[in-house]
């Protein structure tokens, strides 16, 4: 996939690029509004990660131009402003998703995949991995063609793992993905462990041993 990262903080820009390139994506970067507008206009991308506050202008203006020209490109807005209005503005303008700083790269990656699933593949809402198939439209998972009975959180966890294949996911990242702002509650209890373990059992029961432990307390979804 070809991705444009329009973010004026070079350190963040590079970190995002590093993370995404490991999945075999091609990342290009833009460090200010002019560069972002120029590149977005000139080249075709599968997805643009757009910071709202670019040094010399607003990322939302880049989005407006893209939408005016009916460009087929997924857009994820990143903003330092955790305000609902900003979020609604961005989504109203046609952004596919909105994420607030600070965010986990795994979370961003998961959302990128979701956007790409919806857009580029023309409504193919499935994630496939060997014998596992997830239908994101009906929120159901199948293993060897057999429906898995998963709780809501287990389903979310499975999708999160599958979209971050080969990544180390710490309990902190998983907790925040599953419970968002309330993840600090999970601090006191080992809920993540319980949820991951339940999911793992349901998968290994069918012979899918993909969830591995990493560094003692983290997890990794990887093929043997």
């Amino acid at each position: 996939m070809k991705i444009l990262i329009a973010e004026d903080e070079t350190a963040l820009q590079q970190s995002i690029a590093t993370y995404l390139e490991r999945d075999g994506n091609v990342c290009e970067t833009a460090s200010d509004y002019t560069e972002a507008a120029y590149k977005a206009d000139l080249y075709d991308y599968d997805l643009i990660i757009l910071d709202v506050n670019l040094v010399s202008g607003s990322g939302l203006d880049v989005l407006k131009t893209l939408k005016k020209e009916n460009r087929e490109v997924g857009v994820i807005i990143i903003s330092a402003n955790n305000s609902l209005d900003d979020k609604l503005d961005g989504l109203d303008l046609g952004a596919d998703d909105y994420i607030t700083k600070p965010f986990h790269l795994a979370e961003l990656n998961s959302r990128i995949k979701a956007v790409l699933r919806r857009g580029k593949y023309g409504g193919d809402d499935t994630i496939d991995f060997n014998e596992i198939k997830v239908d994101t439209k009906s929120r159901s998972a199948y293993i060897n063609g057999k429906a898995m009975s998963l709780t809501r959180k287990e389903y979310d966890l499975l999708v999160f793992f599958m979209t971050n294949r080969g990544r180390v996911l710490s309990k902190e990242i998983i907790a925040e993905h599953l419970w968002g702002d309330n993840s600090d509650l999970a601090d006191n209890f080992d809920f993540i462990y319980v949820h991951v373990n339940n999911l793992r059992k349901k998968m290994t029961g069918e012979g899918a041993k993909y969830i591995k432990t990493a560094y003692g307390s983290g997890y990794k979804f990887i093929e043997d």
């Binding site: 350190a11 970190s15 995002i16 600070p102 990544r167 180390v168 710490s170 902190e172 309330n182 307390s217």
Partner: protein
Amino acid sequence: MIRKTSQTFIWISFVLMVVSTIALYFYVSNLLRDEVEEELFSTEARIETALKSNRSPYELPPVVEIMTVTELGIEKLKDTIIYDPSQDEMEEFRELTTFETINGKNYRITVRTLIVESDTILMAVVLSYLIIILLVFTFLFYFSKARNERIWQPFFTNLEQMKEFSMTSTEPLRLIDSEILEFHELKREIEALTTKVKSDYLNLKQFTENVSHELQTPLAIIQAKIENIINGDNLNDFQYEHLTSIQKDIQRLTQMNKRLTLLTKIENKQFVNIQKVSLAEIMNGTIQNFHEISAAEIKWDLKNEIWAKMDPYLAEVLCTNLVSNAIKHNTNEGDIEVTARDKVLSISNFGTKSIANPENLYTRFYRESEAEKSTGLGLAIVKRICDLYGFLIGYEFTEGRHVFSVRVN
């Protein structure tokens, strides 16, 4: 204040009136008495002259009486009451009795004059004085009252303005200027003071917003870099442990930031999407959401539906914060009970003892014990939301449970 000065004026006027009337009464009555006595003496002198010149003096009892006596007495001036045949009643007279030896004869000459008349004069004088002074005072009273009201009017208007002064309001103070130097200065000082207070407040608010906002990007960078390190090679368990611990702290910082921003936004009244919201429905969703994260069972007892006019997002924050507070502080993992009944939403959890300082519960960053890892902002936000919509929030400790209840109006 004007009433107070008016009262003082009335009292002083009254006292002055009484005193001056009494003084006038005695002065005039003395004056009249002197007149009467002078008249008596002059009449007596005329009678003496008449007697000396052997003219037969006339007698006009009871006004003039002349008698020959054997012995001389002492001259006497007194008030007496005698019968006046002309009036056919007892009347009060002023009487001068003198004894004179004229042409070898001893006479007792008594002259009298009616006091009634002088009393009438006295009364007339005092009464007219009283009426005049009453009129003067009444006029002065209303005149000075009206004038005072006009003079003090800028002061009172400005005072009303100050009562309505609010730091959060964008409306400027509408102060009235006055020709009176003190009021003019007062107005100037109030203006300077309120402008300063407002700008300080705005600066502080701006500062909180800016800090929260500016922190997001560095936090995002740290977080992204840590994630890349974790996903890199050559990492040992020890390093991983520390990196995830940093992740946890970043998470805390992020939460704190978000909540501070939320608090500021609530204080700035930035939530204007007011709708009719079913608190019971939102609470239901919240409990579903927390169901898997809570070790304790959350018992949901919906007696009546609760409707509130508020921002749906804030309604969600309200429910979430109340439930998460209960989960966080639930000891011995007993049940958490949530009840919706008669416009009151109450949440209770187990506790070993009552909160030591309930008055600080809603203070920012207040924590009962150092061991807690909360941001210390959850209940502060709850309180702000309640204040914003006029809900009443209460805390009590009964039967080993902490109970928070929100009464929706």
